[in-house]
């Protein structure tokens, strides 16, 4: 009964320890990088397109559409960061159904690292799109009294990102392990399929939340006239 896959150590040499989290996250990374390099070696814009290129292009278009729907901006700025997060988490969660493999996202270290990436990316994107003064002015709106609460909010939502992904994936694999010791044949398979669905939904949720945090940091809250105009036109349409 392993609650923490950091404790599973495959290989030890002095102070170097290779645990399951490290091994499988590197495996996922190598798998994704290898597939991408193999496919992008022979890109064409002609009719004879390879299957892999079609797959990657459809993935990129899908993520682009989702980003544009969620933010209402052009997706070029966000697509590297968000799609990297999404694809890594999806592959990590789906590796769970292969026997003998552990999802790297079932350890708190991986999810905390991913959440820290989002935590660092929020000010970077915010300052790059809204400017230094506008971004930090958001912290002291409407009064400077709100400053500590805004900072606590930033920290707690990062923590929630990490714990949500970790809890979902870890509980999925743990439930399967418990059920295997009780009813060996039929029921764990159902829970594995359920865990697959949960894993993909959680990857989507993580990516969408990261996108929302990153995009809302760059919003300049000065376009009141524009929003009023939109409201008026909307009311005019509906009445």
């Amino acid at each position: 009964m392993e609650i923490d896959i950091d404790q599973i150590i495959y290989w030890e040499w002095g102070f170097l320890k290779l645990n399951a989290t490290l091994l499988f996250s590197w495996l996922v990374m190598l798998f994704m990088i290898g597939i991408s390099i193999m496919i992008t070696r022979k890109l064409t814009s002609k009719t004879g397109m390879s299957r892999g290129q079609a797959l990657l292009e459809s993935l990129v278009v899908l993520i682009e559409e989702q980003i544009e729907e969620a933010t209402g901006e052009k997706a070029e700025k966000y697509i590297p960061f968000i799609s990297t997060l999404f694809l890594f988490i999806v592959v990590s969660n789906t590796i769970n159904v292969i026997p003998g493999f552990h999802a790297p996202t079932a350890s708190l270290s991986t999810t905390a690292a991913l959440a820290l990436c989002v935590f660092v990316a929020v000010p970077v994107f915010g300052i790059s799109s809204a400017g230094l003064k506008n971004y930090f002015r958001y912290y002291i709106e409407p009064t400077p009294l709100m400053l500590p609460f805004n900072i606590i909010g930033e920290l707690s939502r990062t923590l929630a990102l990490a714990i949500r992904l970790f809890g979902n994936i870890m509980s999925g694999s743990l439930i399967v392990a418990i059920l295997l010791s009780l009813t060996p044949l039929f029921f764990p398979v159902v829970m594995q399929a359920f865990g697959l669905l949960i894993g993909i939904i959680q990857a989507y949720v993580f990516a969408i939340l990261a996108l929302v945090y990153v995009a809302s940091a760059g919003r300049i809250r000065e376009n009141k006239e524009q929003s009023e105009y939109e409201n008026n036109s909307y009311n005019h349409q509906t009445s």
Binding site: I3, D4, R164, G167, S171, I198, I201, Q202, Y204, V205
Partner: protein, 89 residues
């Protein structure tokens, strides 16, 4: 009664209560969310992809509150930090 048995008893009872009480509120919330989403789909079937997607995201976020309770219960059961004080000392 020894302290190790007290810790074991309290841990088991607390873990059960945690997951029991902690899953009531998310269940109620998810039920309400699902009912509203079904109502919205019944009124506007054209918007069902958007509604379904948003519903899944919302359900996953509500579900995570229950997951937090589950994680706490698991930590109490399998990775209780207070065992070491008694078992080691």
């Amino acid at each position: 009664m020894e302290s190790i048995s007290i810790i074991g008893m309290v841990s088991i009872i607390t873990a059960g209560l945690t997951i029991a009480i902690g899953s009531i509120a998310p269940a109620l919330g998810e039920g309400r969310a699902l009912a509203q989403a079904l109502l919205a789909i019944a009124q506007q079937p054209d918007e069902s992809p958007t509604i379904t997607r948003t519903l899944f995201v919302g359900l996953a976020m509500i579900e995570s509150t229950a997951i937090y309770c589950f994680v706490v219960a698991l930590i109490i059961m399998f990775a209780n930090p207070f065992w070491d004080f008694v078992a080691g000392g």
